[in-house]
Symmetry: C2
Subunit: 345 residues, 2 copies
């Protein structure tokens, strides 16, 4: 079996380990969020970690009602004009903890006396060394180039922080049930996979989602893209409608991620204009009525609250990426020309 399949299936176990071993650390880290002078969060990340950062943008923003922004590393590394960070609480997310651009943001923040937190799977990495507090991802070593369990545990770490800011006992209980829900989701997505042959030679795909699952759209797109080599992209419904939908031709596959929750109605609004353009629709949802609107249905395990739905909603996308890659007879563990650790400035 490939590392990718092994690691995809190990996600429930990895998430359980994170919750078991790092709840205390998350509780300590959550105290940093309560600092008197914190006006906003600044997150530095690349690749899959940036998709986890989008989850943090919606979740941590709602937890403390502080806005969340993403760092622009080039202001630090190229223009040498890092912003003044008064009011910032700075978070670096990196599986490897090695990318110089992410490290440079935390180093600058610390030199300005701002609190810093690293979410990383490598506790002795440069990123971990640059941060005040380290929340280890506990994903175990990841061998496949495409991130699965480190992405999952990045989401888990963010959910853990969310449940400890406050703290929120209901959220803690809901999170504690997620390893089991995730196991059910993996069984559902891998055990009874839909027919995907028709998408094997698609020119590309578009993934649409909003709100807490906005990052899910980007992660599903990245996973399909780096593994299968298909040109895959992600949009919010609003951004898609502001021009980019013009390129959706008849037959173009669009994955619509719409779990039950406040974001669902506005995401569902894309079905009609996409159908009018002849797009092939693929739905990811726990709502039967949503699944019925699509020709390919990727069901979600029931009973997951919307705020935790990104943990399960990414799985049908991971499974689809896996299946398309097999259909295209490509290497699951080493996509052509990619390396596990990418160093950028």
């Amino acid at each position: 079996m490939s590392w990718l399949e092994t690691e995809l299936s190990a996600q429930p176990e990895a998430l359980a380990r994170l919750l078991e071993q790092q709840t205390g650390t998350a509780r300590e880290a959550a105290k940093l969020f309560r600092g008197q002078d914190i006006r906003y969060l600044l997150i530095a990340s690349r690749g899959s970690s940036s998709n986890a950062a989008r989850y943090a943008q919606y979740l941590l923003g709602r937890a403390h009602r502080v806005p969340v922004m993403f760092a622009t590393p080039s202001l630090y590394t190229i223009y040498n004009q890092p912003p003044r960070l008064d009011g910032a609480f700075v978070i670096g997310i990196s599986q490897s903890g090695a990318s110089p651009d992410v490290v440079s943001v935390l180093t600058e923040a610390r030199s300005q006396g701002r609190p810093t937190l690293a979410l990383t799977n490598a506790v002795d990495s440069p990123l971990a060394q640059a941060a005040d507090v380290v929340l280890p991802l506990e994903a175990g070593e990841e061998h496949a180039v495409a991130a699965t369990k480190t992405y999952m545990n990045s989401l888990g770490a963010i959910a853990l922080l969310f449940s400890e800011i406050g703290p929120d006992a209901v959220a803690q209980e809901e999170l504690a049930r997620m390893p089991e829900a995730l196991a059910a989701q993996i069984e559902l997505s891998l055990g009874d996979p839909p027919e995907l042959e028709e998408y094997r030679d698609a020119a590309g795909l578009t993934v649409v989602a909003r709100g807490v699952n906005y990052g899910t759209a980007f992660e599903i797109a990245l996973k399909i893209r780096e593994l299968s080599g298909l040109m895959t992209e992600a949009y919010s419904p609003a951004d898609l409608m502001h021009g980019p939908i013009a390129a959706v031709q008849p037959g173009w596959p669009v994955i619509v991620v719409a779990p039950n929750g406040p974001a669902r109605p506005t995401v569902e609004e894309v079905f009609a204009p996409l159908r009018a353009r002849g797009a092939r629709l693929i739905a990811v949802s726990d709502v039967r009525a949503v699944l019925r609107r699509a020709q390919t249905r990727l069901p979600l395990a029931p009973g997951v609250p919307e705020w935790l739905s990104p943990l399960t909603a990414v799985v049908p996308g991971q499974a689809m990426a896996l299946r398309l890659t097999q259909l295209r007879e490509l290497d699951l563990d080493s996509p052509r020309g990619l390396r596990k650790i990418t160093l950028t400035t």
Copy 2:
């Protein structure tokens, strides 16, 4: 002649009008940036205006060394949990001033007592009414669905603000020369267009840029996409290397935007891995050595400082979008299924 061609060619005149008529307003607006308790800028926008917002992120961030974040409208409109905006200076950018999501962010900011500024071409729009100060774009009425002169004047308004924060006399002089530079650029891009037939039936294109031109990559991608219907996307070099490059197949066209300046060397680093994958390279630059590395060369007018290069660097992209649309025999003024004003929540 199409409205698109008329409006594309009218950009120098529109920019000159903005500079002539609104420098005083920009000076007043710049005072808002100097508020004691301003820790960061929050920008709300959609579509082309979001690409202008990326310019503001690099430029205004550098001007006052304040970080710039983009609003997440769904927290305001769907989740009904708008963030606390202490420390924020809030800017809405919208050609029409009509999109409810952008207006909702400014309305909330104002109800929290934060300073607000609207950059809009419609001075009696809901967005203008929701803001403390309005900086009119002075682009004149825009008829084509695809924005050209309103995008240009959004960049111009941001550059004007930048030159008035401080204020910076050198920047003011450099900006005053831009209508002329823009006229030279339009002459260069439309008067002596390169052969583009080979890209007419491309499956899609990728645009790469960084730093002040990061938004230029998104705007060129959007323009080509909405007009020609080709599946076009934008990436920073670092983000492209973190996985998405896996989908670049032999023959895939990549537009590399690399004007002279601090960002240029790291943008140029993508040439080698892209060539190794057999990509067809298209360069936008004022540097002969950069142009020579590509098979299709889109030259930039000389003598434009990097901070103003987004105003000229978008023009070869607009011209390429125009030409590809003509080659594909599509309507320049009304891309299939798009409307001039898109209302999203």
